[in-house]
Symmetry: D2
Subunit: 345 residues, 4 copies
């Protein structure tokens, strides 16, 4: 059964594996102090056009979020996110486990706004309440939407005016970068937030997320925090080699583009068959709504997750594409869907 369940169902992109293979017997320093990591960091700094940033490559997304947030905040400070934020829902309370409250605000499209942030600030006035100090956003969001540069810039300006940090979770940043009318490029990130991470796991790496700290005041001691939270990989070279491969010939962008291309093909096909979508996504996650019988039929041939029920008779499912998604499987999905659609009618 072919899986559109997520973007980490396969291993790593072949070019990445090739590099891991070819360097395997070399000796190198441990814990990210090797030459590959050094080169990867250099390449990333070039791409984001920010020599002064600190870059630390970690294994996974939850790990990166909990290390960054717990390192940046003082004990009583809290982070604001939308209700669907990954840190609020799908990290088993990882942020709270480091002592910090995640304040959530409702959002229809998975995106944060200055109005939502302002509503939190109004409610938090003295020391009987936590002190909101950071805004967390994801790009693309957990529901497949993405931010324009204008939107992120507005958020960041509001944050700066209100003494808040802006932190961007880039687990699916490649897909955001590869949306057709993208206005928020890699080199824009350092100007628009205090810290962010460039996700590898969901964009062709075996694993790996590159945490970029732009704000000088947040840089100190981060390697201590990484080690303390169990995030310092002994064979750190593995992270360096992968990000070197991702960034030396624009592989990172190419993977994002392929993922989005496959998603777009799927979206056009589904739309043509007359089905609506719960979220207006241009990235590698799609949220179409089907009658329950269609969902049932699809689930006999494909793997995917059910996002939510829509009324009594319909459901929204999540379809995800990746570097490894095969065009013929997308077409197979669409053909099979059209068959079910005709049956329905």
């Amino acid at each position: 059964m072919y899986s559109f369940n997520n973007d980490y169902s396969e291993g790593g992109h072949p070019l990445i594996l090739k590099e891991l293979f070819s360097t395997n017997e070399d000796q190198s320093a441990g814990y990210g102090l090797d030459e590959h990591t050094e080169k990867a960091v250099k390449l990333i700094k070039q791409k984001i056009d920010c020599e002064t940033a600190d870059v630390h490559i970690l294994v996974g997304g939850t790990q990166t979020n909990l290390i960054a947030i717990s390192s940046f905040l003082r004990p009583y400070e809290a982070v604001i996110g939308v209700e669907t934020a990954h840190i609020a829902v799908h990290e088993t309370g990882a942020i709270e486990a480091t002592g910090h409250k995640v304040i959530t605000v409702p959002s229809v499209d998975g995106k944060m706004t200055t109005e939502l942030i302002a509503s939190v600030l109004e409610r938090h006035k003295d020391e009987h309440m936590v002190k909101p100090k950071m805004v967390y956003i994801s790009n693309t969001t957990e529901v497949g939407t993405h931010y324009t540069k204008r939107e992120i810039k507005k958020l960041y300006e509001f944050c700066q005016e209100n003494n808040l940090y802006l932190y961007i979770d880039g687990a699916r940043m490649a897909s955001a970068l590869a949306t057709e009318e993208n206005t928020m490029f890699l080199c824009d990130y350092p100007e628009c937030c205090d810290a962010f991470y460039i996700g590898g796991t969901k964009n062709g790496a075996l694993f790996g997320e590159a945490l970029v700290i732009v704000n000088d005041s947040l840089k100190e001691g981060i390697r201590y925090s990484i080690k303390q939270k169990g995030g310092l990989l002994a064979k750190g070279r593995l992270l360096g080699i992968q990000f070197e491969a991702l960034f030396k010939d624009d592989l990172y962008m190419k993977i994002g583009e392929w993922s989005n291309k496959m998603a777009r093909r799927m979206k056009v096909g589904i739309s043509t068959l007359g089905y609506p979508f719960l979220y207006d996504s241009y990235s590698n996650q799609l949220f179409p709504i089907f009658p329950n019988e269609v969902v049932e039929q699809l689930s006999k041939e494909f793997l995917f997750s059910i996002e939510t029920k829509v009324g009594d008779d319909h459901s929204c499912i999540r379809l995800v594409t990746s570097w490894a998604t095969k065009e013929e499987e997308v077409d197979h999905f669409l053909f099979y869907l059209s068959e079910q659609t005709n049956k329905e009618v």
Copy 2:
């Protein structure tokens, strides 16, 4: 410059890489729910001869220790270790960061004894002090020594009599298993402790440590803790594939044997030249003592760490071997050392 600095200077054993390569394009479930992990767990249970154990494969050692210990203990409970214990010294307070005190006791050979544990129990009597609840040992220890089955059994019986858990850090378990007169086999572990982990990173894996929980009362909720602490790898298959490779044809033992063989060759050579050792090690870590001038000369040709000064004129260095250690490099080291030795004289 050839490195004897540690056992994670190279990538992974070629047989492991081969498996990663051959399975790369398969689709599988995420987060350790894939078939490879299932097979690896099955193989491990066979090797340890314990069907009822729970096995969870994690990325790194500090991560494994902090997840296990924080999951097993109640907030006011503490863990006892020797002063050189990895959790006490080299994990940046990872255990304390989860809220638990590490009580340390002095030990000349890196090994715990029932007398040392008893001394802690005597001092901790009421609720003004933490409650000692777990004993942490490493096999091999941080200074290269190893335990006999008799020793571990005695510790475990003492723990059971005193309502303490025994947890064994097996970062270098393969080297312990491969010591010439080893009496503590893989199948003995489940009978001699409440939980332990089988280290992969320092024995040929790219990364990976298999946490084995034997005590039923400690099993509940561990996957929640793994996720919460950032230890649930999205492409969990990578861990399954590696441990499958390590355990399907005794590769795990073979790597341990090779590491120890190289260390023994080194030890015999160094001894023959008349140098003493700080710790009596039969494993893949050696702690020879050299005059400072010899250390200086060695450091021009080889990478290693200095463990400690010994008087004003001598130093103890740490030499580590692995699956990747080359016999000719060991011989080169010994030849070079003999040259320096003659110069000295």
Copy 3:
């Protein structure tokens, strides 16, 4: 300016002070191991009709909540409360600081329902999310409402069916007990929850909250947790003496009755003048809605807090009574209010 700002504006009830004075020079054991605490615990067990309960008297409410909750829950377990819950809003993230998420649900009257709990359980299905394990309610609630026995019993049955603990914050329990048609008596609490606390600070004590643990499985090690979180008072007798005084001649009930009587007098007066209330309270907290000009006038003569704006022209204020509230000040408030009301018209 007379204050209706809260129920802890004065010191302690004179009968309590008298006892503190008369016992002052006696010697006693520290840390709650004294005879007064023993007697207080005995009296409380009689009043709640539960010999098997464990009772620990602590200094404050936030302290009691954080100690109880962090002692009862495993690291990845979470507590569910309504959006106005004290632990969710007014304890500066104290629960999160011990590592646990507080999951909130919306409630119009400050009260929890089984439907609200069920909605949380439905959304939390696997180890990528925290595990809901405890329901937190306050009686009276933070908005002055109170539960019937039937309501709490229904909650508890639902909790038991779903493997959840029910914990009741009784900071203002005396006021709940003293509502006119109260059906939930002190002796009902042990049958209707796993743990609760009987608030002293807001009912005439200088300070002090008696934590009662009914569920046997939650009793172990609580004194360790109390000490660890800084809650073990050296001169613990002070807590014992106060609760002895509160419970030996029904002083606890009498204070609750007086507070409610004063609030009722106030409520009737305000209602008579034609003002509505935001919450339907029969306890010592009232939430009347006034035109903003009236609020401004009132604030020249009385201290109180503004709860929330109601439209552009009105505000809801909070008025609180206590053992120390003077009848003539209530009447003065009502008279003054009637004057402002007439002006308005």
Copy 4:
């Protein structure tokens, strides 16, 4: 049976109780924002001769230590103390529960030295180990000894040179101030450390410890931390009133002097009878060594704790005096001891 068990066996000094009584019915703001607290803080600032210090009055010592230390340190930073340090032994891992390691060093007299600190710094070099950032000392120490100004100044200079904070636990500061040849006055503290606390519980208050923060960089957000850890007393006036009473007519010093006078009387008597002391104390804690039979006889008439065995036949006991210690009970103790002594011979 008369108790020399500790300095918190009785209630509060009569002058303090009188003030609590006379102000009891006044209304005041909660949470330490009242006039009494304001006055107490002003008085303390005058006595320590430091207008720029921040003063926060808390309920207990463990609470004060855990709030201060967790507020001052970043997650991976650790605090250094001697092996007998209160935070290391008698606070149930309170500091670790906030995430920080307590590094201990051996000390024969309960006092820290620059050599001991230096030995820690030498061993902590990189991010695999915690980062030592604070030195914790107590004055008087846990074993009754006290520091000279010269000693503390030397420690502080060393701390400043090494980028460490110096924090002084003053649970028994009054007794230190009242030692006969004291050179470290209240007004010296702000110049000799970054933060300290002035203990009330063990010097005549019902409870209360005044945390003084001198270093500007440590002041921010402390009230948030106090609230979050459960340390913000609702009726905070109780703390203000007590410290006002302690500092307005030098009551604080007078109590310390009386305690020490009683201890000195006891010490002279015990010495005259020929008994040695384990620690050379001039404060209100004495550690005489008696034959076990004498200890047994004494325990029939007096309460005290046994500190440690000394060889097989002797034990060191701890005797503590306070504001409430009666001269005739001291004399009774000495007379009874002399009787036992004669029997022995």
